[in-house]
Amino acid sequence: MRFSALRRVPLLVAALLLIAPAFAAAQDGSELTDAVNTLWVVLAAVLVLFMQAGFAMLETGLSRMKNAGAIMAKTLCNLSIALVMFWAFGFAIAFGDGSGLVGSTGWFLNGDIPTTFAVYDGYGVPIEALFLFQVAFVAVSLAIVSGAMLDRTKFVGFVIFAVFYAGLIYPFVAHWTWGGGWLFEDGFLDFAGSSIVHLQGALAAAAGALILGPRIGKFRGGKAIPIPGHSMPLAVLGIFILFIGWAGFNGGSGLAAVGINIGDIIMNTYLAAGAGVIGAMIASLWLFKTLDVSQMGNGAIAGLVAITAPCAFVDSWAALLIGVVAGLILPPLVLAVEKMKIDDPVGALPAHGVAGIWGTLSIGLFAVADRTGGAEGLIYGGGGHQLWVQFYGVAATVAFTFTASALVMLGIKYTLGLRLSEDAEIAGQDISEHGMFGYPERFIDVPGATSAEPSLRPLPAPAHAPGKPATSPTGATS
Protein backbone atom coordinates (compact mmCIF):
# COMPACT_ATOMS: atom_id res chain seq x y z
CA MET A 1 0.00 0.00 0.00
CA ARG A 2 1.73 3.13 -1.13
CA PHE A 3 0.11 5.95 0.76
CA SER A 4 2.16 9.07 0.45
CA ALA A 5 2.50 9.44 4.22
CA LEU A 6 3.32 13.14 4.21
CA ARG A 7 1.18 15.32 1.95
CA ARG A 8 2.92 18.55 1.03
CA VAL A 9 0.65 21.43 0.34
CA PRO A 10 0.10 21.00 -3.42
CA LEU A 11 1.88 24.21 -4.52
CA LEU A 12 2.73 22.73 -7.85
CA VAL A 13 -0.86 21.68 -8.31
CA ALA A 14 -2.26 25.18 -8.68
CA ALA A 15 -0.06 25.84 -11.70
CA LEU A 16 -0.85 22.53 -13.23
CA LEU A 17 -2.54 22.83 -16.55
CA LEU A 18 -5.13 20.28 -15.68
CA ILE A 19 -6.77 21.67 -12.65
CA ALA A 20 -9.08 24.62 -12.35
CA PRO A 21 -7.99 26.94 -9.49
CA ALA A 22 -10.94 25.92 -7.31
CA PHE A 23 -9.39 22.49 -7.04
CA ALA A 24 -6.54 23.46 -4.74
CA ALA A 25 -8.91 24.70 -2.08
CA ALA A 26 -11.02 21.55 -2.06
CA GLN A 27 -8.07 19.19 -1.50
CA ASP A 28 -8.07 19.51 2.22
CA GLY A 29 -5.87 16.45 2.10
CA SER A 30 -8.28 14.37 4.14
CA GLU A 31 -8.20 10.58 3.82
CA LEU A 32 -11.84 10.63 2.68
CA THR A 33 -11.30 13.23 -0.05
CA ASP A 34 -8.43 11.17 -1.43
CA ALA A 35 -10.61 8.06 -1.33
CA VAL A 36 -13.42 9.78 -3.27
CA ASN A 37 -10.99 11.12 -5.87
CA THR A 38 -9.33 7.72 -6.18
CA LEU A 39 -12.72 6.01 -6.57
CA TRP A 40 -13.61 8.32 -9.47
CA VAL A 41 -10.20 7.85 -11.16
CA VAL A 42 -10.56 4.04 -10.88
CA LEU A 43 -14.15 4.11 -12.22
CA ALA A 44 -13.05 6.41 -15.05
CA ALA A 45 -10.23 3.97 -15.86
CA VAL A 46 -12.79 1.12 -16.03
CA LEU A 47 -14.99 3.18 -18.38
CA VAL A 48 -12.01 3.95 -20.66
CA LEU A 49 -10.84 0.31 -20.62
CA PHE A 50 -14.38 -0.67 -21.71
CA MET A 51 -13.71 1.38 -24.87
CA GLN A 52 -11.55 -1.55 -26.05
CA ALA A 53 -14.80 -3.51 -26.51
CA GLY A 54 -16.15 -0.44 -28.34
CA PHE A 55 -13.23 -0.34 -30.78
CA ALA A 56 -13.36 -4.12 -31.29
CA MET A 57 -17.09 -3.97 -32.21
CA LEU A 58 -16.68 -0.84 -34.39
CA GLU A 59 -13.72 -2.29 -36.30
CA THR A 60 -15.21 -5.75 -36.86
CA GLY A 61 -18.60 -4.24 -37.79
CA LEU A 62 -16.97 -2.12 -40.51
CA SER A 63 -14.80 -4.89 -41.98
CA ARG A 64 -15.52 -8.17 -43.82
CA MET A 65 -16.73 -11.35 -42.15
CA LYS A 66 -13.55 -13.22 -43.05
CA ASN A 67 -11.48 -10.97 -40.78
CA ALA A 68 -13.85 -10.81 -37.79
CA GLY A 69 -11.93 -13.25 -35.60
CA ALA A 70 -8.55 -11.66 -36.33
CA ILE A 71 -9.75 -8.23 -35.17
CA MET A 72 -10.90 -9.74 -31.88
CA ALA A 73 -7.53 -11.41 -31.34
CA LYS A 74 -5.66 -8.18 -32.21
CA THR A 75 -7.68 -6.03 -29.80
CA LEU A 76 -7.21 -8.52 -26.93
CA CYS A 77 -3.51 -8.68 -27.65
CA ASN A 78 -3.11 -4.88 -27.95
CA LEU A 79 -4.70 -4.39 -24.54
CA SER A 80 -2.35 -6.97 -22.97
CA ILE A 81 0.74 -5.43 -24.56
CA ALA A 82 -0.29 -1.92 -23.51
CA LEU A 83 -0.81 -3.11 -19.90
CA VAL A 84 2.55 -4.86 -19.62
CA MET A 85 4.70 -2.42 -21.64
CA PHE A 86 3.28 0.72 -20.03
CA TRP A 87 3.69 -0.81 -16.54
CA ALA A 88 7.28 -1.73 -17.28
CA PHE A 89 8.61 1.24 -19.29
CA GLY A 90 5.93 3.54 -20.70
CA PHE A 91 4.68 5.02 -17.42
CA ALA A 92 8.21 5.88 -16.30
CA ILE A 93 9.01 7.65 -19.59
CA ALA A 94 5.69 9.49 -19.56
CA PHE A 95 5.20 10.46 -15.91
CA GLY A 96 8.58 9.79 -14.28
CA ASP A 97 10.79 12.69 -13.31
CA GLY A 98 13.36 13.56 -15.96
CA SER A 99 14.10 16.21 -18.57
CA GLY A 100 11.59 18.23 -20.57
CA LEU A 101 11.77 15.54 -23.24
CA VAL A 102 11.60 12.23 -21.39
CA GLY A 103 10.99 10.83 -17.93
CA SER A 104 13.52 8.39 -16.51
CA THR A 105 12.39 7.28 -13.05
CA GLY A 106 9.79 4.79 -11.86
CA TRP A 107 10.46 1.76 -14.09
CA PHE A 108 8.06 -1.07 -13.26
CA LEU A 109 6.10 1.54 -11.30
CA ASN A 110 8.67 1.44 -8.48
CA GLY A 111 8.94 4.54 -6.30
CA ASP A 112 6.67 6.94 -4.43
CA ILE A 113 4.77 9.84 -5.89
CA PRO A 114 6.65 12.80 -4.38
CA THR A 115 10.09 11.30 -5.10
CA THR A 116 9.60 9.46 -8.43
CA PHE A 117 6.44 10.83 -10.02
CA ALA A 118 6.55 14.48 -8.92
CA VAL A 119 3.98 15.45 -11.56
CA TYR A 120 1.31 13.58 -9.56
CA ASP A 121 2.19 15.05 -6.18
CA GLY A 122 -0.75 16.64 -4.37
CA TYR A 123 -3.59 14.76 -6.07
CA GLY A 124 -3.88 12.26 -3.21
CA VAL A 125 -4.53 9.45 -5.72
CA PRO A 126 -2.34 6.32 -5.33
CA ILE A 127 0.08 5.62 -8.18
CA GLU A 128 -1.66 2.34 -9.12
CA ALA A 129 -4.97 4.10 -9.77
CA LEU A 130 -3.17 6.72 -11.89
CA PHE A 131 -1.42 3.91 -13.81
CA LEU A 132 -4.77 2.20 -14.53
CA PHE A 133 -6.19 5.48 -15.82
CA GLN A 134 -3.24 6.32 -18.05
CA VAL A 135 -2.79 2.77 -19.45
CA ALA A 136 -6.41 2.83 -20.59
CA PHE A 137 -5.55 5.90 -22.70
CA VAL A 138 -2.58 4.09 -24.26
CA ALA A 139 -4.85 1.18 -25.23
CA VAL A 140 -7.34 3.59 -26.85
CA SER A 141 -4.56 5.21 -28.88
CA LEU A 142 -3.27 1.79 -29.98
CA ALA A 143 -6.76 0.70 -31.08
CA ILE A 144 -7.00 3.79 -33.31
CA VAL A 145 -3.77 2.80 -35.06
CA SER A 146 -5.03 -0.70 -35.88
CA GLY A 147 -8.31 0.77 -37.15
CA ALA A 148 -6.62 2.07 -40.31
CA MET A 149 -4.50 -1.05 -40.86
CA LEU A 150 -7.35 -3.59 -40.86
CA ASP A 151 -7.57 -6.72 -43.02
CA ARG A 152 -4.04 -6.49 -44.43
CA THR A 153 -1.58 -6.35 -41.49
CA LYS A 154 0.30 -9.39 -40.20
CA PHE A 155 -0.66 -10.17 -36.59
CA VAL A 156 2.95 -10.51 -35.45
CA GLY A 157 3.90 -7.32 -37.31
CA PHE A 158 1.35 -5.26 -35.43
CA VAL A 159 2.31 -6.89 -32.10
CA ILE A 160 5.86 -5.62 -32.49
CA PHE A 161 4.66 -2.13 -33.44
CA ALA A 162 2.39 -2.16 -30.38
CA VAL A 163 5.37 -2.91 -28.13
CA PHE A 164 7.22 0.15 -29.49
CA TYR A 165 4.15 2.38 -29.50
CA ALA A 166 3.05 1.63 -25.91
CA GLY A 167 6.57 1.47 -24.57
CA LEU A 168 8.15 4.42 -26.36
CA ILE A 169 6.34 6.58 -28.96
CA TYR A 170 3.16 7.38 -26.99
CA PRO A 171 4.97 7.98 -23.65
CA PHE A 172 7.24 10.61 -25.21
CA VAL A 173 4.43 12.94 -26.26
CA ALA A 174 2.60 12.16 -23.01
CA HIS A 175 5.68 13.34 -21.11
CA TRP A 176 5.88 16.58 -23.08
CA THR A 177 2.32 17.46 -22.10
CA TRP A 178 0.82 15.66 -19.10
CA GLY A 179 4.23 14.65 -17.77
CA GLY A 180 5.21 18.26 -17.18
CA GLY A 181 7.58 18.33 -20.18
CA TRP A 182 8.47 21.19 -22.47
CA LEU A 183 5.04 21.61 -24.07
CA PHE A 184 3.46 21.85 -20.60
CA GLU A 185 6.03 24.44 -19.61
CA ASP A 186 5.04 26.47 -22.71
CA GLY A 187 1.43 26.45 -21.54
CA PHE A 188 0.17 23.89 -24.10
CA LEU A 189 -3.33 22.78 -22.99
CA ASP A 190 -5.02 19.44 -23.71
CA PHE A 191 -7.37 18.37 -20.93
CA ALA A 192 -8.11 14.78 -21.92
CA GLY A 193 -5.93 14.03 -24.95
CA SER A 194 -7.28 15.14 -28.36
CA SER A 195 -3.64 15.42 -29.45
CA ILE A 196 -1.85 13.03 -27.06
CA VAL A 197 -4.25 10.09 -27.56
CA HIS A 198 -6.29 10.61 -30.75
CA LEU A 199 -4.00 12.63 -33.00
CA GLN A 200 -1.06 10.36 -32.12
CA GLY A 201 -3.17 7.29 -32.91
CA ALA A 202 -4.27 8.74 -36.23
CA LEU A 203 -0.68 9.70 -37.17
CA ALA A 204 0.59 6.19 -36.57
CA ALA A 205 -2.48 4.94 -38.45
CA ALA A 206 -1.62 7.22 -41.40
CA ALA A 207 1.95 5.91 -41.43
CA GLY A 208 0.60 2.36 -41.41
CA ALA A 209 -1.97 2.95 -44.16
CA LEU A 210 0.65 4.59 -46.39
CA ILE A 211 3.29 1.89 -45.84
CA LEU A 212 0.81 -0.98 -46.24
CA GLY A 213 -1.10 0.39 -49.22
CA PRO A 214 -4.77 -0.33 -49.82
CA ARG A 215 -6.61 -3.64 -49.49
CA ILE A 216 -6.86 -5.82 -52.62
CA GLY A 217 -9.82 -4.63 -54.67
CA LYS A 218 -10.17 -1.27 -52.90
CA PHE A 219 -9.02 0.90 -55.83
CA ARG A 220 -9.66 -0.17 -59.42
CA GLY A 221 -9.21 2.12 -62.36
CA GLY A 222 -8.58 5.08 -60.11
CA LYS A 223 -11.96 4.66 -58.43
CA ALA A 224 -12.55 3.73 -54.82
CA ILE A 225 -14.67 0.60 -54.70
CA PRO A 226 -16.87 0.56 -51.58
CA ILE A 227 -15.98 -2.37 -49.34
CA PRO A 228 -18.81 -2.15 -46.81
CA GLY A 229 -18.43 -3.87 -43.42
CA HIS A 230 -20.57 -6.84 -42.39
CA SER A 231 -22.69 -5.63 -39.45
CA MET A 232 -23.92 -2.10 -38.67
CA PRO A 233 -25.51 -3.33 -35.39
CA LEU A 234 -22.08 -4.40 -34.08
CA ALA A 235 -20.43 -1.20 -35.39
CA VAL A 236 -22.97 1.11 -33.73
CA LEU A 237 -22.93 -0.99 -30.52
CA GLY A 238 -19.22 -0.16 -30.54
CA ILE A 239 -19.97 3.53 -30.98
CA PHE A 240 -22.41 3.53 -28.02
CA ILE A 241 -19.77 1.81 -25.84
CA LEU A 242 -17.22 4.47 -26.88
CA PHE A 243 -19.86 7.16 -26.12
CA ILE A 244 -20.27 5.79 -22.55
CA GLY A 245 -16.50 5.32 -22.08
CA TRP A 246 -15.92 8.96 -22.98
CA ALA A 247 -17.60 10.04 -19.71
CA GLY A 248 -14.56 8.53 -17.94
CA PHE A 249 -12.16 9.65 -20.69
CA ASN A 250 -12.95 13.39 -20.28
CA GLY A 251 -14.58 13.41 -16.84
CA GLY A 252 -11.71 11.49 -15.25
CA SER A 253 -8.89 13.58 -16.70
CA GLY A 254 -9.09 16.06 -13.81
CA LEU A 255 -7.99 13.11 -11.61
CA ALA A 256 -10.51 14.26 -9.02
CA ALA A 257 -14.24 14.32 -8.28
CA VAL A 258 -13.97 16.78 -5.38
CA GLY A 259 -13.54 20.42 -6.45
CA ILE A 260 -14.04 19.80 -10.18
CA ASN A 261 -17.44 20.08 -11.90
CA ILE A 262 -17.24 16.69 -13.68
CA GLY A 263 -20.91 17.13 -14.61
CA ASP A 264 -20.04 20.20 -16.65
CA ILE A 265 -17.13 18.43 -18.39
CA ILE A 266 -19.31 15.44 -19.32
CA MET A 267 -22.23 17.66 -20.39
CA ASN A 268 -19.90 19.49 -22.79
CA THR A 269 -18.63 16.11 -24.01
CA TYR A 270 -22.11 14.77 -24.81
CA LEU A 271 -23.42 18.01 -26.30
CA ALA A 272 -20.46 17.91 -28.71
CA ALA A 273 -21.20 14.24 -29.50
CA GLY A 274 -24.84 15.01 -30.33
CA ALA A 275 -23.77 17.96 -32.43
CA GLY A 276 -21.24 15.73 -34.19
CA VAL A 277 -23.96 13.28 -35.23
CA ILE A 278 -26.20 16.07 -36.49
CA GLY A 279 -23.29 17.69 -38.37
CA ALA A 280 -22.37 14.39 -40.04
CA MET A 281 -26.02 13.79 -40.98
CA ILE A 282 -26.26 17.15 -42.68
CA ALA A 283 -22.96 16.70 -44.54
CA SER A 284 -23.84 13.10 -45.52
CA LEU A 285 -27.24 14.17 -46.88
CA TRP A 286 -25.71 17.04 -48.76
CA LEU A 287 -22.71 15.13 -50.18
CA PHE A 288 -23.95 11.56 -50.56
CA LYS A 289 -27.73 12.24 -50.84
CA THR A 290 -28.27 9.47 -48.23
CA LEU A 291 -28.01 9.19 -44.44
CA ASP A 292 -24.98 6.91 -44.37
CA VAL A 293 -25.13 5.00 -41.05
CA SER A 294 -21.35 4.59 -40.76
CA GLN A 295 -20.87 8.35 -41.31
CA MET A 296 -23.39 9.22 -38.58
CA GLY A 297 -21.51 6.92 -36.22
CA ASN A 298 -18.18 8.47 -37.14
CA GLY A 299 -19.77 11.88 -36.68
CA ALA A 300 -20.35 11.01 -33.01
CA ILE A 301 -16.70 9.92 -32.72
CA ALA A 302 -15.45 13.10 -34.43
CA GLY A 303 -17.51 15.25 -32.04
CA LEU A 304 -16.21 13.33 -29.02
CA VAL A 305 -12.57 13.49 -30.20
CA ALA A 306 -12.81 17.23 -30.89
CA ILE A 307 -14.27 18.12 -27.46
CA THR A 308 -11.68 15.94 -25.66
CA ALA A 309 -9.03 18.70 -25.42
CA PRO A 310 -11.29 21.72 -24.66
CA CYS A 311 -14.04 19.94 -22.61
CA ALA A 312 -13.05 21.55 -19.27
CA PHE A 313 -12.06 24.89 -20.77
CA VAL A 314 -15.06 25.97 -22.85
CA ASP A 315 -18.71 26.87 -22.28
CA SER A 316 -21.50 24.59 -23.49
CA TRP A 317 -22.43 26.67 -26.58
CA ALA A 318 -18.77 26.40 -27.69
CA ALA A 319 -18.90 22.64 -27.06
CA LEU A 320 -21.87 22.39 -29.43
CA LEU A 321 -20.03 24.46 -32.05
CA ILE A 322 -16.86 22.36 -31.78
CA GLY A 323 -18.93 19.22 -32.16
CA VAL A 324 -21.02 20.31 -35.12
CA VAL A 325 -17.92 21.47 -37.02
CA ALA A 326 -16.19 18.14 -36.37
CA GLY A 327 -19.28 16.34 -37.70
CA LEU A 328 -19.69 18.55 -40.76
CA ILE A 329 -16.09 18.18 -41.94
CA LEU A 330 -16.07 14.38 -41.51
CA PRO A 331 -17.82 13.19 -44.72
CA PRO A 332 -15.83 15.51 -47.02
CA LEU A 333 -12.63 14.35 -45.31
CA VAL A 334 -13.55 10.70 -45.86
CA LEU A 335 -13.92 11.44 -49.57
CA ALA A 336 -10.63 13.33 -49.59
CA VAL A 337 -8.80 10.42 -47.94
CA GLU A 338 -10.20 8.05 -50.55
CA LYS A 339 -9.25 10.50 -53.32
CA MET A 340 -5.67 10.37 -52.00
CA LYS A 341 -5.81 6.59 -52.52
CA ILE A 342 -5.42 5.94 -48.80
CA ASP A 343 -7.47 2.92 -47.65
CA ASP A 344 -8.87 3.77 -44.20
CA PRO A 345 -11.54 1.12 -43.44
CA VAL A 346 -13.07 2.74 -40.29
CA GLY A 347 -12.33 6.40 -41.15
CA ALA A 348 -9.72 6.75 -38.37
CA LEU A 349 -7.76 9.55 -40.08
CA PRO A 350 -10.64 12.05 -40.34
CA ALA A 351 -12.44 11.06 -37.10
CA HIS A 352 -9.35 10.91 -34.83
CA GLY A 353 -6.71 12.85 -36.79
CA VAL A 354 -8.37 15.97 -38.16
CA ALA A 355 -10.96 16.14 -35.35
CA GLY A 356 -8.05 15.78 -32.88
CA ILE A 357 -6.25 18.74 -34.42
CA TRP A 358 -9.47 20.81 -34.56
CA GLY A 359 -10.17 20.04 -30.88
CA THR A 360 -6.64 20.96 -29.75
CA LEU A 361 -6.66 24.21 -31.72
CA SER A 362 -10.19 25.12 -30.58
CA ILE A 363 -8.77 25.75 -27.08
CA GLY A 364 -6.93 28.68 -28.63
CA LEU A 365 -10.28 30.03 -29.81
CA PHE A 366 -12.84 29.30 -27.11
CA ALA A 367 -10.87 28.88 -23.82
CA VAL A 368 -12.56 30.71 -20.92
CA ALA A 369 -10.03 32.43 -18.59
CA ASP A 370 -11.52 31.35 -15.26
CA ARG A 371 -11.68 27.73 -16.48
CA THR A 372 -8.06 27.49 -17.58
CA GLY A 373 -6.62 29.52 -14.74
CA GLY A 374 -5.40 32.24 -17.10
CA ALA A 375 -5.23 31.27 -20.79
CA GLU A 376 -8.01 32.91 -22.84
CA GLY A 377 -9.32 32.11 -26.27
CA LEU A 378 -9.11 34.39 -29.29
CA ILE A 379 -12.83 35.24 -29.30
CA TYR A 380 -12.59 36.47 -25.71
CA GLY A 381 -9.80 38.80 -26.71
CA GLY A 382 -7.11 36.54 -25.31
CA GLY A 383 -5.06 37.18 -28.42
CA GLY A 384 -3.41 34.54 -30.59
CA HIS A 385 -0.79 33.40 -28.06
CA GLN A 386 -2.65 30.35 -26.83
CA LEU A 387 -3.63 29.42 -30.37
CA TRP A 388 0.01 29.65 -31.41
CA VAL A 389 1.08 27.39 -28.51
CA GLN A 390 -1.62 24.90 -29.43
CA PHE A 391 -0.50 25.04 -33.05
CA TYR A 392 3.14 24.23 -32.52
CA GLY A 393 2.19 21.65 -29.95
CA VAL A 394 0.17 19.87 -32.64
CA ALA A 395 2.99 20.38 -35.16
CA ALA A 396 5.53 18.82 -32.78
CA THR A 397 3.26 15.82 -32.20
CA VAL A 398 2.64 15.36 -35.94
CA ALA A 399 6.36 15.51 -36.70
CA PHE A 400 7.45 13.17 -33.91
CA THR A 401 4.76 10.51 -33.92
CA PHE A 402 4.41 10.17 -37.71
CA THR A 403 8.14 9.80 -38.21
CA ALA A 404 8.72 7.53 -35.23
CA SER A 405 5.82 5.29 -36.23
CA ALA A 406 6.86 5.23 -39.89
CA LEU A 407 10.41 4.27 -38.91
CA VAL A 408 9.29 1.44 -36.67
CA MET A 409 6.84 0.14 -39.29
CA LEU A 410 9.41 0.29 -42.09
CA GLY A 411 11.78 -1.57 -39.77
CA ILE A 412 9.20 -4.29 -39.31
CA LYS A 413 8.35 -4.28 -43.03
CA TYR A 414 11.89 -5.02 -44.05
CA THR A 415 12.51 -7.66 -41.39
CA LEU A 416 9.50 -9.76 -40.44
CA GLY A 417 7.16 -8.18 -43.00
CA LEU A 418 4.18 -6.00 -42.12
CA ARG A 419 1.69 -6.85 -44.87
CA LEU A 420 -0.26 -10.08 -45.18
CA SER A 421 0.44 -12.23 -48.24
CA GLU A 422 -2.09 -11.92 -51.09
CA ASP A 423 -3.45 -15.39 -50.52
CA ALA A 424 -3.87 -14.80 -46.80
CA GLU A 425 -5.62 -11.46 -47.39
CA ILE A 426 -8.01 -12.93 -49.97
CA ALA A 427 -8.75 -15.99 -47.85
CA GLY A 428 -9.21 -13.72 -44.84
CA GLN A 429 -6.95 -13.29 -41.78
CA ASP A 430 -9.13 -15.59 -39.68
CA ILE A 431 -8.36 -18.80 -41.54
CA SER A 432 -4.83 -17.91 -42.64
CA GLU A 433 -3.44 -16.57 -39.33
CA HIS A 434 -5.76 -18.02 -36.70
CA GLY A 435 -6.72 -21.30 -38.33
CA MET A 436 -10.42 -20.73 -37.71
CA PHE A 437 -13.15 -18.55 -39.23
CA GLY A 438 -14.60 -15.73 -37.13
CA TYR A 439 -18.04 -16.94 -38.22
CA PRO A 440 -17.46 -20.71 -38.52
CA GLU A 441 -21.04 -21.64 -39.52
CA ARG A 442 -20.93 -19.07 -42.32
CA PHE A 443 -17.98 -20.72 -44.09
CA ILE A 444 -18.18 -24.41 -43.09
CA ASP A 445 -21.46 -26.08 -42.42
CA VAL A 446 -20.31 -29.68 -42.20
CA PRO A 447 -18.96 -30.65 -38.76
CA GLY A 448 -21.58 -31.74 -36.32
CA ALA A 449 -25.23 -31.96 -37.14
CA THR A 450 -26.47 -28.52 -38.03
CA SER A 451 -29.71 -29.22 -39.81
CA ALA A 452 -32.87 -28.38 -37.88
CA GLU A 453 -34.49 -31.80 -38.20
CA PRO A 454 -36.61 -32.74 -35.22
CA SER A 455 -37.26 -36.25 -36.48
CA LEU A 456 -33.85 -37.72 -37.38
CA ARG A 457 -32.08 -40.75 -35.94
CA PRO A 458 -28.26 -40.30 -35.71
CA LEU A 459 -26.57 -41.84 -38.78
CA PRO A 460 -25.39 -45.44 -38.17
CA ALA A 461 -21.58 -45.59 -38.49
CA PRO A 462 -21.11 -46.75 -42.12
CA ALA A 463 -20.75 -50.47 -41.31
CA HIS A 464 -18.83 -51.76 -44.24
CA ALA A 465 -16.75 -48.71 -45.19
CA PRO A 466 -13.84 -49.98 -47.26
CA GLY A 467 -10.42 -49.69 -45.55
CA LYS A 468 -9.57 -46.31 -43.88
CA PRO A 469 -8.78 -44.06 -46.86
CA ALA A 470 -5.14 -43.01 -46.93
CA THR A 471 -5.86 -39.42 -47.72
CA SER A 472 -8.57 -38.85 -45.15
CA PRO A 473 -7.49 -36.14 -42.69
CA THR A 474 -7.33 -36.98 -38.99
CA GLY A 475 -10.72 -37.49 -37.49
CA ALA A 476 -12.73 -36.74 -40.62
CA THR A 477 -14.08 -40.28 -40.98
CA SER A 478 -14.25 -43.01 -38.41
Partner: protein, 121 residues
Protein backbone atom coordinates in the same frame (compact mmCIF):
# COMPACT_ATOMS: atom_id res chain seq x y z
CA UNK B 1 -22.20 -37.45 -69.42
CA UNK B 2 -24.72 -37.29 -66.58
CA UNK B 3 -25.52 -34.97 -63.68
CA UNK B 4 -26.57 -36.45 -60.35
CA UNK B 5 -28.66 -34.08 -58.24
CA UNK B 6 -29.16 -35.57 -54.75
CA UNK B 7 -31.25 -33.84 -52.06
CA UNK B 8 -29.95 -35.31 -48.78
CA UNK B 9 -29.59 -34.56 -45.04
CA UNK B 10 -26.69 -32.42 -43.77
CA UNK B 11 -25.41 -35.29 -41.63
CA UNK B 12 -24.85 -37.53 -44.68
CA UNK B 13 -22.60 -35.09 -46.54
CA UNK B 14 -19.26 -35.72 -44.85
CA UNK B 15 -19.39 -39.49 -45.22
CA UNK B 16 -20.54 -39.30 -48.86
CA UNK B 17 -17.83 -36.77 -49.74
CA UNK B 18 -15.07 -38.90 -48.25
CA UNK B 19 -16.35 -42.15 -49.85
CA UNK B 20 -16.67 -40.50 -53.30
CA UNK B 21 -13.23 -38.91 -52.99
CA UNK B 22 -11.90 -42.32 -52.03
CA UNK B 23 -13.55 -43.77 -55.16
CA UNK B 24 -11.66 -41.22 -57.24
CA UNK B 25 -14.59 -38.85 -57.70
CA UNK B 26 -13.60 -35.82 -55.54
CA UNK B 27 -15.29 -33.19 -57.73
CA UNK B 28 -18.74 -32.14 -56.56
CA UNK B 29 -20.75 -29.07 -55.55
CA UNK B 30 -22.94 -28.64 -52.47
CA UNK B 31 -25.73 -26.08 -51.98
CA UNK B 32 -27.80 -25.23 -48.90
CA UNK B 33 -31.44 -25.56 -49.91
CA UNK B 34 -34.77 -25.81 -48.06
CA UNK B 35 -37.01 -28.63 -49.12
CA UNK B 36 -40.48 -29.93 -48.43
CA UNK B 37 -41.79 -33.43 -49.07
CA UNK B 38 -43.73 -36.07 -47.19
CA UNK B 39 -41.81 -35.17 -44.02
CA UNK B 40 -44.25 -33.38 -41.68
CA UNK B 41 -43.49 -29.72 -40.96
CA UNK B 42 -42.46 -28.52 -37.48
CA UNK B 43 -44.41 -25.98 -35.47
CA UNK B 44 -42.90 -22.67 -34.58
CA UNK B 45 -44.51 -20.30 -32.12
CA UNK B 46 -43.54 -16.64 -31.74
CA UNK B 47 -45.38 -14.54 -29.16
CA UNK B 48 -48.37 -16.86 -29.33
CA UNK B 49 -48.77 -16.90 -33.12
CA UNK B 50 -48.17 -20.49 -34.29
CA UNK B 51 -47.11 -21.40 -37.82
CA UNK B 52 -46.17 -24.75 -39.26
CA UNK B 53 -43.01 -24.50 -41.26
CA UNK B 54 -42.81 -26.99 -44.14
CA UNK B 55 -39.45 -26.00 -45.57
CA UNK B 56 -36.56 -27.83 -43.88
CA UNK B 57 -32.81 -27.19 -44.39
CA UNK B 58 -31.43 -29.83 -46.80
CA UNK B 59 -28.23 -30.25 -48.81
CA UNK B 60 -28.33 -30.41 -52.63
CA UNK B 61 -25.35 -32.40 -53.90
CA UNK B 62 -24.46 -32.00 -57.59
CA UNK B 63 -21.97 -34.39 -59.20
CA UNK B 64 -21.33 -34.40 -62.95
CA UNK B 65 -19.85 -37.76 -64.03
CA UNK B 66 -18.95 -39.82 -67.02
CA UNK B 67 -21.77 -42.31 -67.82
CA UNK B 68 -19.71 -45.22 -66.52
CA UNK B 69 -19.37 -43.83 -62.99
CA UNK B 70 -23.06 -42.95 -62.43
CA UNK B 71 -24.19 -46.27 -60.98
CA UNK B 72 -21.42 -46.69 -58.37
CA UNK B 73 -21.83 -43.03 -57.33
CA UNK B 74 -25.62 -43.42 -56.94
CA UNK B 75 -25.13 -46.63 -54.90
CA UNK B 76 -22.66 -44.84 -52.63
CA UNK B 77 -25.08 -41.94 -52.00
CA UNK B 78 -28.04 -44.30 -51.49
CA UNK B 79 -26.10 -46.31 -48.89
CA UNK B 80 -24.73 -43.38 -46.88
CA UNK B 81 -27.78 -41.05 -47.01
CA UNK B 82 -30.24 -43.73 -45.86
CA UNK B 83 -31.79 -43.57 -42.34
CA UNK B 84 -35.20 -45.11 -43.16
CA UNK B 85 -37.08 -41.99 -41.87
CA UNK B 86 -39.21 -39.69 -44.07
CA UNK B 87 -37.06 -36.84 -45.38
CA UNK B 88 -34.10 -39.00 -46.49
CA UNK B 89 -34.34 -37.24 -49.84
CA UNK B 90 -34.28 -38.03 -53.53
CA UNK B 91 -31.74 -38.46 -56.37
CA UNK B 92 -32.38 -37.16 -59.90
CA UNK B 93 -30.22 -37.92 -62.94
CA UNK B 94 -30.17 -35.74 -66.08
CA UNK B 95 -28.10 -35.57 -69.24
CA UNK B 96 -25.14 -33.21 -69.71
CA UNK B 97 -24.24 -32.34 -73.29
CA UNK B 98 -20.84 -30.69 -72.72
CA UNK B 99 -18.28 -30.26 -69.91
CA UNK B 100 -15.36 -27.81 -70.03
CA UNK B 101 -12.48 -27.31 -67.52
CA UNK B 102 -11.89 -23.56 -67.13
CA UNK B 103 -8.23 -23.92 -66.13
CA UNK B 104 -7.18 -25.74 -69.34
CA UNK B 105 -10.11 -25.31 -71.72
CA UNK B 106 -10.33 -29.08 -72.11
CA UNK B 107 -13.78 -30.33 -73.23
CA UNK B 108 -15.72 -33.58 -73.11
CA UNK B 109 -15.54 -36.73 -70.92
CA UNK B 110 -11.79 -36.28 -70.31
CA UNK B 111 -12.73 -33.44 -67.97
CA UNK B 112 -14.62 -35.91 -65.80
CA UNK B 113 -12.05 -38.75 -65.69
CA UNK B 114 -11.88 -40.19 -62.17
CA UNK B 115 -8.53 -40.26 -60.39
CA UNK B 116 -7.04 -43.73 -59.88
CA UNK B 117 -8.72 -45.25 -56.78
CA UNK B 118 -6.53 -44.51 -53.72
CA UNK B 119 -5.02 -47.65 -52.23
CA UNK B 120 -6.81 -48.36 -48.94
CA UNK B 121 -4.76 -46.98 -45.97
Amino acid sequence: MKKIEAFIRHEALEAIHDRLAHMGLPSMSVTEVKGSGRQKGFTESYRGARTTVFLRPKIKLEVVLDDGDVDRAVDCILELAHTGEPGDGKIFISDIEEAIRVRTGERGAVVLEPHPEEAPA
